[in-house]
């Protein structure tokens, strides 16, 4: 009876990065679905994407390993963190920033057209 909760705490303590990923991921998704404010939806989208970046970074992390830069003198020694997920995240961040820019540009146009950022109000205005 005692072992089960201990096991779970242990499980979370070693995998807290993945747990954080799951919580942020779900929070971002919920914001996108539930918030009627368009800007907050975009913020939710950013949170959602950042969670994925964290996931990739925590996946590449090796305790006690060095940054993946091989010194010019002396050659490679010891353990290195995998550079591939870092490169992936770098690219994904660029994609995310451009998407946010396009989204905000669209929101500016929607605001100038409808005068509000509330989804329900816009739907009422648009249906008329």
């Amino acid at each position: 009876m005692m072992e089960v909760p201990v096991l779970q705490v242990d499980f979370l303590a070693t995998r807290y990065a993945y747990a954080t990923f799951a919580v942020l991921f779900a929070t971002g998704l919920y914001m996108m679905v539930a918030s009627p404010n368009l800007v907050k939806k975009v913020i939710g989208l950013n949170l959602f994407q950042s969670a994925i970046f964290l996931f990739f970074i925590s996946m590449a992390y090796v305790a006690g390993a060095e940054v993946p830069v091989v010194p010019s003198a002396g050659g490679a020694v010891g353990e290195y963190v995998s550079p591939l997920p870092h490169v992936i995240v770098l690219t994904a961040i660029v994609v995310g920033v451009s998407l946010t820019a396009v989204a905000l540009a669209l929101i500016v146009r929607i605001y100038s057209e409808y005068g509000t950022l509330d989804e329900h109000t816009i739907r009422e205005v648009a249906d008329e």
Binding site: L45, I52, F56, A92
Partner: protein
């Protein structure tokens, strides 16, 4: 540096996309000629790729000369060659339409070329992360294009598409993360080798990655519960853009899904995890029924055709899920055929909209005699969509139904037939309105046609003075008719498709 046409197919439109903006500083309306030049080059390159693949070759290009374990690989086989050819042809034809109808701003043509680059990249890449990047390039350009007419409604549709599309692509990225975690590689060929031998198909990480990838790409391909962005995006965007993205944007989404299933997870994954296959086919089948029913209830033509796309992509995805030789062949043919037919249909709707100021079924009354050529093309394309032989629509559905029977999935075969009947229902309603309902009986159209717009001929009438008719040109009608003719001509191309896809089948099935 052999096989240079593969990187050029992606690089040419990206470089060309910068030119309209650059020249735009000095000249006006330079976008269209630049886009035409780039698209012609693309068509030539695509023809070369199709020719080489048709000869039985399956070839690669390693970018920058890096080995495929470290670098990015571009690959062409039967499936990608078909999609590359579709992209090049539709881009060229829609550009012909855009000369008169389209937005003339230089920035529009930059986005047009950027989308072309993204689409080509998705079809040719052999790297799962690179696929994500190209999907997002495709997405970014599409969001910008949907909002190209600067109205509030279009901006709203584009934002909806952006949020859903990005969520889909992000889910796909999580799937890629799980794959990388399980196998340590991103190259499709390497992944296919590692999965099943070094990592079991039933590994929870692999199954989870399939779930994320399938759901993420289903958003892009507009499979039923994830399709909600599509009707708004198609209905609110300008006609040129609708014709362009309806034929291509979701098509490459469905293509990516097929590519991932066959080149990465392979059919053995389906054999090892039968639940994944069953859920996949069930979702696609539901999509066929729901899309068809929703399409029948629409009164706006563009919205109706958008819901019909949901059904047709359901058919394609179901075919890929069934994973028998005939079904995959049918899926590939229907993917290409549907892209061509949908583009043609939206072009015809665009011509009628410009000539008569209506996009409503009610407003279409008796137009068959005012715009004979366009409406005839529209009729041919609608019958092709229903699946009347000889047309590519029939060919695709025939192979899918055959494959469904072969795979022992009578429900899917029944749904193909049922959706055909529903397609006939809305196609026939449109045709009946176009040819047999007198204009007086028509319900009043939403936007009232302009005074002179109502009596405009569509250019099929040779005596019409082209200058007196600024909105519809002979070229626009000719392009629409050409698509209709192609749809019928490709109906006889069954053996050619079989030859093209035979090496693909051999490797992956």
């Amino acid at each position: 540096m052999s096989n240079l046409e593969l990187p050029l197919l992606v690089a040419v439109p990206i470089v060309a996309a910068t030119l309209p903006l650059l020249f735009g500083l000095k000249f006006d309306e330079v976008g269209w000629p630049v886009a035409l030049l780039a698209t012609l080059v693309e068509t030539g390159l695509a023809a070369r790729v199709v020719g080489r693949v048709y000869a039985g070759e399956r070839y690669f290009h390693q970018l920058g000369g890096y080995d495929r374990q470290y670098g990015i690989e571009l690959a062409a086989d039967g499936l990608s060659a078909g999609v590359v050819a579709l992209i090049a042809v539709v881009a060229l034809l829609v550009l012909g339409f855009a000369r008169r109808a389209g937005p003339r701003r230089n920035s529009f043509y930059s986005a047009y070329l950027l989308l072309l680059a993204g689409l080509m990249g998705v079809s040719l890449t052999g790297d799962v992360f690179n696929l994500f990047v190209f999907l997002e390039i495709t997405g970014l350009a599409t969001y910008a294009l949907v909002a190209a007419d600067r109205s509030g409604r279009a901006a709203l549709a584009a934002l909806k598409y952006l949020i859903l599309g990005t969520a889909g692509a992000s889910l796909y990225l999580v799937g890629v993360g799980y794959l990388l975690l399980a196998t340590g590689t991103l190259n499709m060929a390497e992944l296919a080798g590692t999965l099943g031998s070094e990592v079991a198909y039933t590994d929870p990480m692999v199954v989870a990655s399939f779930g994320f990838v399938a759901v993420g790409l289903s958003v892009k391909a507009a499979v039923f519960p994830l399709h909600t962005w599509m009707p708004d995006a198609y209905a609110e965007s300008p006609d040129t853009v609708t014709a362009y993205i309806s034929g291509l944007a979701s098509t490459v989404g469905a293509y990516a899904l097929a590519r991932l299933i066959y080149s990465v997870y392979t059919v053995e994954f389906f054999a090892a995890v039968p639940l994944a296959q069953r859920a996949f086919v069930a979702a696609a089948t539901l999509s066929v029924v729901a899309g068809s029913v929703l399409a029948v209830t629409q009164s706006e033509v563009k919205r109706m055709l958008a819901y019909s796309s949901v059904a047709q992509f359901g058919l394609v995805v179901a075919a890929f899920g069934l994973a028998t030789e005939q079904a995959v062949l049918g899926g590939a043919i229907h993917l290409v055929g549907h892209g061509l037919m949908k583009s043609g249909l939206f072009l015809a709707v665009g011509v009628l909209g410009l000539a008569h100021g209506t996009r409503d079924v009610g407003g279409y009354a008796n137009l068959g005699y005012r715009s004979p050529v366009t409406v005839a093309a529209l009729g041919v394309l609608l019958l092709g969509l229903v699946g009347v032989p000889p047309s590519i629509g029939f060919l695709g559905k025939w192979y899918i139904a055959w494959g469904a029977v072969e795979a022992g999935a009578p429900v899917v075969a029944g749904v193909v037939l049922f959706s055909t009947l529903l397609t006939l229902l809305y196609a026939a309603r449109l045709l009946e309105t176009l040819y047999f309902r007198p204009a007086d009986d028509a319900e009043p159209a939403g936007p009232s046609p302009t005074a002179d717009g109502a009596v405009r001929s569509d250019g099929g009438d040779a005596s019409a003075d082209p200058d007196a008719d600024p909105s519809v040109s002979v070229g626009m009608v000719a392009v629409t008719a050409l698509v209709a003719a192609l749809t019928v001509a490709l109906g006889f191309a069954g053996p050619a498709f079989e030859t093209l896809l035979a090496p693909f089948m051999e490797v992956f099935l």
